[in-house]
């Protein structure tokens, strides 16, 4: 049996009649940094909370290091949810003490290392008075104090200013470099993801659209451009658009249509292509 850090097999999660996730299968390689992307409502947060064990899947199974996650936090997993919950009235020092008290395995040393990174966080400040960036740093310190082997981050960047985003990613990358932690990180900010991720997991309407090594995925796709009157006429067209003079398409697979010029897409172009296709499908269904 493959005991990769995180595996999902046919995972579904239904809330009443809404299918937040439906038949999701993927596997994250050890030590990889995976970008989790998709439109709002694609099921990204649901997936992260299932992996963390905050909720139970309706069907299917998620395993972390070979053991099934069933509604309980796996000791090897740390999850930082979107709101970055912390006790606002605690000082940073007290927050770390709380982290130690709430965890069976805890490293004060590791947590303090994270707090000392970059400009450092004042340990006597109340958590509620910190800037968004410093707050994120404290939340990451709590998460990494658990000495996780899998780090799940739900939109850790969304309300940070550019400097704080840069610093947050720096902390996460340092963790990967030092401890080989497997990271799954959801974000809407594709430009930031491009730098730091080596794997991609693209969710849409509760299903996995694309999953794998980013370089391989990009190699597998082409952005093709040609005169408007030409027909694409090939399989694997993800998304296409036409202006008066030009037809542009994102194509999956090796074949380049006749009369078109092909180029390798960048991550942003690839993800946007899939997102556009998803919107077109949804509008067509209405």
């Amino acid at each position: 049996m493959n005991a990769g850090p995180v595996r999902a097999e046919h995972v579904a999660k239904h809330f009443g009649r809404t299918k937040a996730l439906d038949g999701c299968s993927f596997s994250l390689p050890e030590g990889s940094v995976t970008g989790l992307v998709g439109p709002n409502g694609a099921g990204k947060s649901t997936l992260l909370s299932l992996i963390a064990g905050l909720a139970k899947p309706t069907s299917g199974e998620i395993t972390v290091h070979g053991t099934a996650v069933r509604g309980r936090m796996h000791p090897d997993v740390a999850l930082l949810t979107q709101k970055r919950p912390l006790y606002d009235q605690f000082t940073v020092r007290e927050m770390m003490r709380a982290g130690a008290a709430m965890n069976d395995r805890w490293s004060d040393e590791r947590a303090n290392e994270v707090l000392d990174l970059l400009a450092g966080v004042d340990e006597d400040a109340k958590v509620g008075t910190l800037s968004a960036g410093a707050r994120t740093q404290v939340a990451i310190a709590v998460a990494l104090g658990r000495l996780p082997k899998v780090l799940l981050l739900d939109e850790p960047l969304s309300d940070l200013d550019p400097l704080a985003r840069d610093e947050t990613l720096r902390i996460v990358m340092t963790e990967v470099a030092e401890r080989g932690t497997t990271v799954l990180l959801s974000s809407h900010l594709l430009t930031d993801l491009g730098d730091v991720c080596d794997h991609l997991l693209l969710l849409d309407e509760g299903r996995v659209q694309v999953s794998g090594d980013i370089e391989e995925i990009l190699d597998e796709h082409h952005v093709v451009v040609g005169p408007a009157e030409l027909e694409l006429g090939v399989d694997g067209v993800v998304d296409s658009s036409r202006t008066a003079r030009q037809a542009t398409a994102l194509v999956r697979g090796g074949t380049v249509p006749e009369g078109f010029q092909a180029a390798r897409p960048d991550l942003e172009a690839l993800v946007m292509g899939y997102l556009r296709a998803s919107r077109t499908r949804r509008l067509a269904r209405r």
Partner: protein
């Protein structure tokens, strides 16, 4: 350019709250018809500057004029529209009712234009605002702001919490409409990369002061070691924060 055509002119503008100066010694000129990126770390004074531009905040010192008038600090200038991150709309109103609200609240309201914008966004008029997706809600808020026929549109982090496609679509609409109508835009965002191809003027604030302001291509020429707007802005922010 006469004063009446100058969207924003600030002279030694400052605003002090009980906890200290949020903005100080801000001298600034925003030319008409530009799309201006307002960037800076959190707490740099961006929202304060926007508040004084829209007339919702009163300056502590210095002067600001918007199309030649001094904002009173009590209400919006009729030629200014303001869209904040929170996009305050009534969730129980339908889109049609939201536009009617706009018509009643604004003397220069252009109903046809607002409706056209909603149609382009493919948002159903009968839908309740509360049921719309984030992207759709932003498009309605934008229609409400533009239906007022402003000459200056001030946007405070309008794209936060939208997904990448919605970000792109909203931004494209915004730029297209504002260019077509000749509206001056003051746009704040934390995502420098997406301002890259959109903004032609930059105002960088840090620590309550203007650190960099001017035409983007001029600035890039003057700082030859940076090839992009985001690289230039990020480097300046880092220096200011370190100092």
């Amino acid at each position: 350019m006469s004063q009446r055509e100058q969207p924003v002119l600030a002279e030694r503008l400052g605003k002090k709250y009980s906890r200290g100066w949020a903005l100080r010694d801000c001298t600034l000129e925003i030319p008409a018809g530009r799309i201006v990126a307002l960037v800076g770390p959190n707490g740099a004074g961006k929202s304060t500057l926007m508040g004084m531009t829209t007339g919702l905040l009163r300056p502590t010192e210095g002067r600001i004029s918007v199309f030649g008038d001094a904002p009173t600090g009590r209400g919006m200038h009729p030629a200014v529209a303001f869209l904040t991150q929170a996009k305050p709309l009534y969730p129980q109103f339908t889109v049609t009712e939201t536009l009617r609200y706009g018509r009643n609240a604004n003397p220069g309201w252009d109903q046809a234009y607002a409706e056209e914008l909603v149609e382009k966004a493919r948002v159903p008029f009968a839908a309740k605002v509360g049921t719309l997706s984030g992207g759709q809600r932003t498009r309605v808020a934008l229609a409400l702001a533009l239906g007022k026929r402003p000459r200056l549109l001030v946007l405070d982090e309008p794209l936060a919490d939208l997904d990448p496609l919605a970000r792109e679509t909203v931004l494209t609409t915004l730029v297209r409409e504002c260019r077509a109508q000749g509206i001056t835009v003051l746009l704040s965002s934390h995502v420098l990369a997406e301002l890259e191809d959109v903004c032609d003027h930059l105002v960088l604030l840090a620590g309550g002061r203007v650190r960099l302001a001017g035409d983007v291509s001029d600035l890039l020429r003057a700082h030859a070691d940076h090839r992009t707007l985001s690289g230039l802005a990020l480097a300046h922010m880092r220096v200011e924060v370190a100092a």
